[in-house]
């Protein structure tokens, strides 16, 4: 079991959850929204079950819950399946996640948006926020429809304390993906912190979402 917190607002809140509930499995922090790009989802919670060979056997996006009987049943069936021999890993080019390696690769391929994005994500994970912001901005320049690049840029700027620039970037991400609830909530958290701390006000979120959708002409 692994969990990933899709929080662009910093590590404190997800860490508080992990400690409050005594979670014993690793909990990753995806501050740049890189899993949006890899898994193409627009809301949480999501569950993906992967077997020994690294093959996806089950996935449910939005509404994944172990309180759902059908979900539990499917997972139990998969878990009851005996392991076969694990086939050799498919031969794909080994990807690097190291800042130094990615810097060299990105410098040599200045027009590769995916490389800029990978570099930016690696920088963000190392808290090299200024360098991350620069690479996210470049990735967005190369691919203006990358919500991941715009979201990551906002997160890096937020870490740098540039709040209004961060909101601009997250706003751009939301323009690209208006149905992405993770992005929308990140903006709300920054603009209306009192609705999220100390208690998350879910009724307020419903009203706010309806108002914004109406304003966007999508009600």
């Amino acid at each position: 079991m692994l969990s990933v917190a899709m929080d662009g607002g910093g590590v404190e809140q997800p860490r508080a959850f992990v400690e409050q509930f005594g979670v014993t499995f690793p909990t990753f922090l995806d501050a740049s929204g890189l899993l949006f790009r890899l898994y193409g989802f627009s809301a949480v919670p999501n569950g993906v079950y992967v077997d020994e060979a690294g093959i996806i056997r089950f996935q449910l996006f939005t509404g994944f819950s172990v309180d759902r009987e059908d979900v539990v049943q499917q997972l139990e069936t998969l878990l009851a399946t005996p392991s076969g021999d694990v086939p050799p890993a498919p031969t794909v080019a080994q990807q690097s996640f190291e800042v130094e390696v990615l810097l060299e690769q990105a410098a040599a391929n200045g027009d590769d948006a995916d490389l800029q994005l990978a570099l930016a994500e690696a920088c963000l994970q190392e808290s090299e926020n200024a360098r991350a912001a620069e690479a996210f901005a470049r990735a967005l320049e190369l691919n203006s429809e990358s919500a991941n690049a715009a979201f990551g840029l906002g997160t890096a700027l937020h870490q740098l304390g540039q709040t209004s620039e961060a909101l601009d970037a997250w706003g751009r991400a939301l323009e690209i993906e208006p149905d992405n609830f993770v992005i929308r909530k990140q903006i709300w958290r920054l603009k209306h912190p009192e609705k999220f701390y100390p208690v998350v006000d879910y009724d307020w979120q419903k009203v706010q979402l309806a108002a914004e959708k109406a304003a966007e002409g999508r009600a």
Partner: protein
Amino acid sequence: MSVTLERPEVGTVAPDFSLPDVYGKRWTWSEFRGKRVLLYMWASW
């Protein structure tokens, strides 16, 4: 304007990635090969 999101399908290889945990330790997805993994994506809000 919206873009079509690509989602990996059941039966295909889960994409590799690297992320830190909430204590700052870096992990790579490929480290979990050979194990059955349930990847749960959530948010604190």
